[in-house]
């Protein structure tokens, strides 16, 4: 007689060990036909209706539970995760595009600033050159003017000197003539003579 037969591994074999008499006694209480016990248990047709019934009940419930509760839930979890991954990838792509745009804008600005700086430099260079040129011209002009003035003075001094040379020559000539000849030569004659000699 075993009540907790699922765990009766130890007690049951002792009963079955060839003693058909005891076996029949044991199972008469549970209502199993004694003749079914010669059969290899998995091929015992007496157990088929019960096993099929309980398989149908348990598997049917299992199927319904999985279909109605578990699978929508697991599928939902996986879908949500996939959506989230796509979303995150999109977000990353968008951020990357933004970063690229920022880099492009920065580069453009840099190029513009470079051009501008070059232009400013060029301008400053030109201005400095022009100024220097102007200053040079002014100085040159001043020098030219001074030179002109100096030359004019030199020529006037030279003319005066030449004029004076004539007078001195006439005086000297008249004095020589006086000393040599003793008479006075007219001024005009002397002047003419000096002029012809000087020429």
């Amino acid at each position: 007689m075993f009540v907790t037969s699922a765990f009766a591994q130890e007690s049951a074999p002792a009963v079955e060990d060839g003693h058909t008499g005891t076996e029949g006694d044991t199972h008469s209480g549970t209502g199993v036909p004694a003749e079914a016990h010669g059969v290899f248990p998995p091929f015992d047709p007496a157990t088929f209706p019960s096993q099929l019934l309980w398989l149908a009940i348990t598997f049917g419930l299992f199927y319904l539970f999985l279909k109605k509760v578990v699978m929508p839930r697991v599928g939902g979890i996986i879908d949500v995760r996939n959506d989230r991954i796509t979303q995150d990838l999109d977000h990353a792509a968008r951020l990357k595009a933004e970063a690229d745009a920022a880099v492009a804008a920065y580069e453009q600005e840099l190029a513009e600033a470079k051009t501008k700086a070059n232009a400013i430099g060029q301008q400053a260079n030109d201005a400095a050159k022009a100024e220097a040129e102007a200053a040079r011209k002014k100085v040159e002009a001043a020098l030219d003017q001074k030179l002109g003035e100096a030359e004019a003075r030199i020529s006037s001094i030279k003319a005066n000197a030449m004029k004076e040379v004539g007078t001195i020559a006439e005086d000297t000539a008249s004095a020589i003539v006086e000393a040599l000849v003793g008479g006075k030569a007219s001024k005009a004659e002397i002047a003419a003579a000096v002029k012809s000699v000087a020429r």
Binding site: E10, D17, D44, T47, L66, M71, V74, I78
Partner: protein
């Protein structure tokens, strides 16, 4: 006494826990039924509890559930295409049921539901029944094209059709016997080697020393049985997918 414990068949005995008899049929709640309930309860509880947090970044247990889900889903999609996904709940529950029943059976003193031919045959009949019913519903008599492959010369046709019919009819048998026989043989072998350990140890010091060998064998076999438990659930699910593909696309 030692010899009693070695009886490798005992583990397959059906014992009545709650005798029920209706209309002359014995529908008792047996240890087999108890372990069917346990299988369903363990599988349901695992799938339900492991996913209850619905984390975006899954915990270990949640990723096990997700892996099983995606594993079966990909298997079905590869074999039967996206149209086959309407059978996803069926294939997934078959896979989980067989897998958990096989794994539970590995525990000592536990009953292995799938080691009874009637259980595996019931599951196989469910698969083939689904294939036949859905095939005729969807394609009508066109479902019979399943038995007439394309491009076969007319004089060979009777022979080929006969072979196709036999192969179709043998499907539920092969599907159920494969799982049943694997579980049965594995558990008997395991029990025999474990029995050696017990009977050798009873012989004294030398026997205890000698029992190391069958013990190592039993450990190795347990690992093998773990693999077989998973593999047979996988094979059962894959074949289910392929048979369902026939229901969806009977024209080969």
């Amino acid at each position: 006494m030692a010899a009693d414990k070695v009886d490798p068949i005992h583990q397959f005995h059906i014992n009545k826990l709650i005798p029920i008899e209706i209309g002359g049929y014995d529908l008792s709640f047996t240890n087999s039924a108890l372990f069917m309930v346990a299988t369903v309860a363990v599988a349901s509880a695992f799938l339900y509890l492991s996913t209850s947090s619905r984390s975006l970044v899954p915990s270990r247990l949640q990723s096990v559930s997700e892996m099983a889900y995606e594993f079966v889903g990909n298997m079905l999609r590869d074999a039967a295409g996206t149209q086959g996904m309407k059978f996803f709940p069926l294939v997934f529950s078959l896979f989980m049921f067989v897998l958990v029943a096989n794994l539970l059976g590995l525990f000592p003193y536990f009953f292995t539901v799938t080691s009874h031919i009637i259980v595996t045959f019931g599951l196989a009949a469910l698969v083939i029944g689904t294939v036949v019913v859905y095939g005729f519903m969807k394609h009508g008599l066109g479902f019979l094209k399943l038995f007439v492959p394309h491009g076969v010369p007319i004089y060979l046709l009777p022979l080929v059709v006969l072979i196709e019919v036999i192969s179709f009819v043998s499907r539920p048998v092969s599907l159920s016997v494969r799982l049943f026989a694997n579980m049965l043989a594995g558990h008997i072998t395991l029990k025999v080697f474990s029995g050696f350990v017990v009977s050798l140890s009873a012989l004294g010091t030398l026997g205890i020393a000698g029992s190391v060998l069958p013990l190592a064998m039993a450990v190795a076999l347990t690992a093998l049985e773990l693999l077989v438990a998973f593999l047979q659930a996988y094979v059962f699910a894959v074949l289910t997918c392929m048979y369902l593909n026939d229901a969806l696309h009977p024209g080969h």
